[in-house]
Symmetry: C2
Amino acid sequence: MNNFQLLKTSTDNRARAGEITTAHGTVQTPAFMPVGSQATVKSVDPRDLHEIGANMILANTYHLYLRPGIEVIKEFGGLHKFMNWDSAILTDSGGYQVFSLAPLRKVTDEGVNFRSHIDGSEHFLTPELATEYQEDLGADVIMVLDECPAHDAPREKIEEAMDRTHAWALRCKRFHKPNNQMLFAIVQGGLFPELRKQSADYLTSLDFDGYALGGLSLGEPKEKMYSIIEETTGFVPQDKPRYLMGVGSPEDIIEGVTRGIDIFDCVLPTRVARNGALFTWNGRHNIRNAVYKKLERPFMPGCNCYTCRNFSAAYLHHLFNAGELLAYRLATIHNLNFMQNLIIKIREAILSDSYTSFRDEFRKTYRTTDEDTRLTQKQKWIKNRRT
Amino acid sequence: MNNFQLLKTSTDNRARAGEITTAHGTVQTPAFMPVGSQATVKSVDPRDLHEIGANMILANTYHLYLRPGIEVIKEFGGLHKFMNWDSAILTDSGGYQVFSLAPLRKVTDEGVNFRSHIDGSEHFLTPELATEYQEDLGADVIMVLDECPAHDAPREKIEEAMDRTHAWALRCKRFHKPNNQMLFAIVQGGLFPELRKQSADYLTSLDFDGYALGGLSLGEPKEKMYSIIEETTGFVPQDKPRYLMGVGSPEDIIEGVTRGIDIFDCVLPTRVARNGALFTWNGRHNIRNAVYKKLERPFMPGCNCYTCRNFSAAYLHHLFNAGELLAYRLATIHNLNFMQNLIIKIREAILSDSYTSFRDEFRKTYRTTDEDTRLTQKQKWIKNRRT
């Protein structure tokens, strides 16, 4: 059974519109998933997310395994009930987080041994356990356990990680009991197109419900990332959803969609929001800037988000300036709403076969932020974790 | 014109039910005002407050004068528009905060010179300025500028502060342009009943819209505070609202209402919420406690608050344990909703002439928290400010 229906592909490029049928509603693609690693999208609640229009969020097995523990959530009947979220959830396997813990982890063919970043306790994760945990969480989409090497690791390391990822994907697939939970594979292979092809071919032969692109946005040049995305989406099946893990900024979503990506997730919109950086159609601006101090209009006039409908730029500026907790939530709502509107506009453009002009207009008017191109949020996360 | 209507007085004691007509709706009394010093009740938004049923909140002239500045809010047409709150607002004059800044302030008959706790800049506040600022903020209830001495100051100091408070009250009254903004006086006189009488008599002779009790809950024994409240409410007019400033824990609200108080405000419910301490009808409990880790029911079964209607105790426990921002808002909503329910139950009991039995039942079942009786939150605030 195929849970993915491809509705339209752009005539000029690989941009696609489709929908995924999950046990918790339909997810229209392209889709951007807000990140709720610890069973909460930081600072907002399920009602906020519904108002924004999010219909799939990401949660993280690594975080939930450590806190509150998989068994706690299992006893509740799963993550949906635990966090009171009735739409779709995709869970990351925890592999990426565990590999970011170096040198606190040791990998063997059997699995990976790691120490908790919270209390230093020792744990062992295998493909089978990662799958079981995600089944227990009740995820609508389960990710295989993969090994994610650094983008600049030597080719032998990349290849070794890819081979292990393949062996682990097979074990996840064999372990996963057929139910209404989809299982997505993760294509590895670093920045080597021939390895990406080898990885995509092997994983396709195992027939997964979807294919993710792993090991990207780890500090490699953006152009390199874009070309690897373009090549890899040429290697995976057309009739299955493609998920670009840990990406995107607005500009990366545009570039990803253009190259055939259906699903994105990224902490960027929520993380920068808590620092006062808010998205607009011409780039992002920091609400702490003095120009907003007396600005009576909403931060982004015409924006349909709860924040812009109810509060002025000056009030948001004041909340950040005064260090008030409400600032984080209102800014997060705006940024997630912006991402959702971006995705909706992209989808409408694809469906009406005007995506290319929409994209070109976006590229012309949206000013990317230098710090993002110099150092991705993901790198910062890894750096933080490693220190 | 009298904006206050007394609807009912308990036959056994001084408990009263009434209503205050403001330019932003009717405030039913007894009333508890959530504290929004910086134009936001910490962690919640106006929609949350409306759902809770709050119809008057407190904001602080001192905080708003420093940040974002009175002129910014005045340009917006007032605080209601600035913070998007369409129900009533009472503003504190800033006197209490300024006097808490010792030794960073110097008081003369003319006014008080103080240094900002934010950047050390120097400012001068007079009764006229305090009134003008609150007029500019568009407060529904304006408080006079008063001098609030320590509860254990020598009698001469208490008397001197009282006299100055009287002179300042007269200046506020003379300065205040008649409009739809009520002006409340503040009765001082420390723990001396005869001074409280003198203060109440003088201020009553000036005919204010309401009378506040200042200088209480500053570390004096609870029984002393209760007896001063009881005596003072005997000295002020029956047909005007009485406001006990900076009080209430649930138990203090019960004791205050019993002695004839109509309005309360306190940071306690919101502050302890952010530390995980949540109210129930038998006292408060900390959600961080391990007993909640797997508790699938709401923290307080049957509670009608957004938090208890949507989330389990275990989920709240997890959010606090994981240090997630959503924890603060959900806990704050519960505590403010509890305070509002307490006030509603008190009011219904007064109106049906069953307040005494309600109070006695509350006293029997509600276990007060030791740390509150040893050291009030207000004292801690002063201590923090002074260090």
